[in-house]
Symmetry: D2
Subunit: 395 residues, 4 copies
């Protein structure tokens, strides 16, 4: 179980956390702050929170930070933190800006010697993603990508069951991620979340694709370990005048011969955050739904359906480690997100301590997931643009 | 409500029903018999139940039929029934044989002046389907195709809600139909149901495709009224050595601009009869699941989800007519199947009476659905065979 | 599986069925007719359908009966049927009148040598119930009581699991049966179903108690085999001016030391027919809900929940016998009701054949269940009237 | 929405939190720490964490506290904190010890001028509870009782709907809270949680009753605002040799004429933390289940069921305030628990600021809930001991 104390015994301070992004009105930045705080393992002490310096200051004040540690932009922040004595500097930075800033900011902090926790999609292009991978490798620093849905305990259990052969050979993967919040063109009404997500300059080439379909792809990959070989993709923009896709349909072949379907949308009336995955092998099938995350359904032919429930002893170690409170006391989105932080931060701490992180601590999405994700996004777009032809995955 | 009496007032006898197929060990033939009996509107009095005459006799005996009305084959049956005085002859025949017999049998009975209720897929080819349509038209007889899932009251409610604009413009259709009963090659073990369904000579060019994907297609069409414009289909045979597909993935464009996804399989571990449809328009969304058929979920943006329940006054007339018992007393597969019979038989009765059936009575699948279904099957196969290219629907 | 043919081999005719009650506008009479017909094992040929002779005639006509077999009242019917040659007489009668008529009608037919299928509650008083038991015994005829919910396959599976020790020692029984159809005083608006059920002269001393709480009690008894030792009951009439209870709360001690709770109501807004039972033993727990009858949830400590699904090989023989169509093709209320008929009718047929019915055929509620049910009703009323004191079950 | 910043604008520091209890191996103490941290509004800086001083020290170290602020017992802590300058002292203490310590600790801190957040059941007796109420009142300090289930947004919505008449007059309340973790006598195996909860000296006169049935009672009262008038209670100890009850059955009359049922258990196989409430009025009904806390089902007669979902604009202000992240991103136990803290802490902050807390801030359980809870516990025990007689609620 994740307690507030498990690793503290060998580390006598909280990690010092910085943030770029997460200014007033942001959604995901505040999520990062809440989950970093939850287990008492980190404290936010510095940040450049908004592209408008005044708003960055305002957020720093609200967070009760030392005004000297609240910056006007990320470049100033990198420099100023480097100028501090080592035992005052932040240990890592969380990047929670719109997509177009992920790459330059991550690059700058990595090159200056800071660990980085970064929002997805990782970069604007596959080329950038590959470059970032090189930078991470040469920096020797920890880089975590917040594909947060992989932090759910029952997702870890699903992965374990595939890996240990409980499902047999995987035949079919079905993953979907429907929402409805972009049904109307709220980006025209000044809704900040919608504005940048529907603007190609800030979001990149994918709309719904980069925002959430990429989570679906990552989840399928995390659970099954499989890579897409080729795909046929159909992007649609249902909201008239919108510049990016808001609906995604894909059928896929995986490298092992499995067949896949992925559909995702931000305009499906009444759907909230319906990430759902089903995986079937020749021995068993699994089903997990993000809106009821404490349950994992397991199917076998000719046997009763089994519902695995979070918090039980019969689950795998990774699922147990990702659990804070007993069975029946539901955990949800923030705890799962915090699990990404716990593992990334424990790995950062190991790094600082000069020790080797355990396999369980290393269970968080990395720059490799980011490269796969950007290859996915670019292949989808290529398939769609070339009359929705079957297209080999870019590498 | 369907009572045993509503139409009897103007018709002083039960319909006389014949059957071809439905011998010992058959599944669907006995279903047809149960549902025809249920409401007291028909009595089976004649049949050619099996390709083996001895088995046909055996079944006739079990059904307590007059041995003179139990035939060796359908040709003998047509002739013998015609030789009877008109007021002894069967009124209609139900065709519940393997697929390859549907066309010749239906043709023979229609041309001899009998009404026909026929299993799906209607024929072996689109060409045959079109020919059958001509035969039905020139015969002037009633022809019903047992796409039985359209008989569910909540499916009728779904159709009504699309038709009356409650969903707005339909944007996306998602329909799936997973099973697992063909996971292993039980056709090699003498399982009669599996044998003919996996044999191209009896089943036609589609395996899972013709057996159940066609139900999914029909359900989507019934509810939305939309026609497919083009599709990209990916058929797989997961069970080694099987001659026909056992897994179907399709993405589609509909004529109105809607996008569609259909997946169906008979090898998805632990899936029983998971026909499920979701339809989203710009004003609302619907979800219906065959394994919980008394409920229809209705979604709107920013409003509570609504669960419509069978048996309530707020439902449409077609749904109410398709209901026998009060809300909370669940109805299921047999009752829905019986609803196809009730409407087809009431239409047959109107025909006999020389009256015009009502619009509600005419609510059953016809030869037109059969033509659309065969066009669907042949287009899927063409797309799959031509490297899974986007393919225009055949007409 | 229940086919149309399994027992016909040794019996070359349908059973001849008569009915008392079930006139125009009745609910349960038509249910009895539908379920008797479903499997082709019986045909209704005679009846006294309504207390008004004209309505009885009308119903006979709608049912296409020979007018000579449609009677003005049950006394005339008994006599006239007796006057017929033995091979024309009805084999059994179904009694579907308001409660006050059950006893005299059942008595008359039993004493005249007819088998009886009777609605519940069996009689108006425990005294009558005991008397009827004697009559059944001395008549040597088959008597079935339509506690129809015990006909569901998954209820039979639940019973099997308790009986075979899968649950260990039963500790707690929780059963509930909420409805809302009597929320308003629709008995004042001429609603026939409501009128007699809220009239002590026709319904007896219990309102909701006799109508549905008795089903809940019977279900608990059927599944667990346990008898109530004593109870504390609280009856309420929420609808102002109504003469009988419309809400029931009971806590109970069972003879084996188990504790029980039963609540039932006909005024709980939005509840349709929510019969639900949960049974917990020291090794396992079970949960079954009538509105989703194809599933049975099985609980163990520290293990995944298991969902047993109708139609699978792993179920007990009684559950399999009560199943007509494959897993995933849901069966529901009418099929479960028909299962009571199938077993009762197979037992009647064995009786006619002079053979011994099998244990599986004998699985239907009998006059003993009726005696237990009337003892339950009278004890509830005594407890409630005596300031809701703990009261020993009447015997 | 609860952000990390909403009240900081007017308060330039985190609250200083102390804790008594929550030593190594404790469950609820760590929950209090996580939820206090989550929103960045408080920091734990002092504590007496365990009855064994060495363990208290160990926990302080794990929490990275100043060793000078880690105490051997609560008396030392009160004195030492008072000795500190006012701007270093804790603002409030959280009491998370076994039940027998709640009263003396809360009393000591209140009388010393500290605000208190205290676990339930509040005291060991009703007499103590009334005394504590007087102490709270004379102290003028904030006292919050962690009946944490009232912190769920959809519970607040339920309360709002009852209060605003959406349900009409409340007729029936059904609340249940089954668990299974005490099925076996794990208190004999050194399980710390089980040890004190089954020991009358530490837990008080109620076992399951005081541990969780009291949550059920409080939830029903919170949502409906109703008070119990009298009850008939049946306590059972299923685990042989256990000194306290592990199973509770109660039927109740409420002061407004509503009828109630409450059942709770810690020995129901396979039940995890199944707190569930249903409330029916003459206009509508509600259903909420703790294990799926983001949903609230709303029932009306003759209308579709409505599912209210957390995070939507159509919910009441109290529900919205208790929400951190958007609809479809589930929140759960910890967030609900944190909502009790947020409101209690905002009230404490208002108190420090000398301002008046808003009605929304005051929405947390208080000493009054504790008095009602202890009256409930003592009345249940009196009813059970006096042959389970109907017993008036103690006052």
């Amino acid at each position: 179980m994740v307690t507030g104390s498990d690793t503290k015994m060998t580390f006598n301070r909280k990690l010092r956390m910085g943030m770029v992004g997460g200014g007033p009105g942001a959604f995901i930045g505040e999520v990062h702050r809440k989950v970093a705080r939850m287990d008492g393992k980190a404290e936010i002490i510095a940040g450049a929170f908004d592209i408008e310096p005044a708003k960055s200051k305002q957020m720093g004040k609200e967070l009760l930070l030392d005004p000297n540690r609240v910056y006007e932009n990320y470049k100033q922040m990198v420099q100023a933190e480097l100028d501090l004595p080592e035992d005052e500097r932040i240990d890592f930075v969380s990047v929670t800006t719109p997509n177009n800033w992920h790459f330059p900011i991550a690059k700058a902090f990595l090159e200056a010697g800071f660990h980085v926790i970064c929002e997805k999609p990782m970069t604007m292009t596959l080329t950038e993603a590959k470059e970032l991978k090189k930078i991470v490798e040469s920096s020797g620093k920890v880089f975590a990508l917040t594909h947060n849905y992989t932090g759910y305990p029952m997702v870890k259990q699903a992965r374990y069951m595939v890996k240990t052969g409980v499902l047999g050979k995987v035949h079919k993967i079905f993953v979907e991620y429907p929402q409805d919040w972009l049904l109307k063109r709220i980006e025209l009404d000044g809704q900040k979340q919608a504005e940048w997500r529907t603007d190609p300059k800030q979001a990149g080439a994918g709309g719904c694709l980069g925002d959430i379909a990429t989570h679906a792809e990552n989840l399928a990959h995390y659970i099954t370990g499989l890579y897409i070989e080729k795909m046929c993709a159909d992007l649609t923009t249902f909201a008239e005048g919108r510049k990016l896709d808001d609906d995604v349909n894909i059928i896929m072949h995986y490298e092992n011969g499995a067949k896949g379907m992925l559909h995702s949308s931000q305009v499906l009336t009444g759907q909230e955050n319906g990430l759902k995955i089903r995986v079937w092998g020749d021995k068993g099938g699994l089903e997990w739904f993000q809106e009821h995350p404490n349950y994992l359904n397991f199917y076998q032919q000719g046997k009763p359906v089994q519902i695995f429930r979070r918090g039980n002893d019969y689950l795998c170690e990774a699922a147990k480690r990702a659990t804070r409170i007993p069975a029946g006391h539901p955990e949800a989105f923030l705890e799962a997100f915090a699990n990404i932080y716990v593992n990334a931060m424990d790995t950062i701490r190991a790094h600082i301590n000069g020790t080797k992180p355990t396999e369980l601590e290393l269970d968080f999405p990395t720059v490799d997931d980011g490269v796969v994700g950007m290859a996915f996004i670019e292949t989808v777009i290529e398939s769609d643009k070339s009359s929705q032809k079957w297209t080999k995955i870019k590498k």
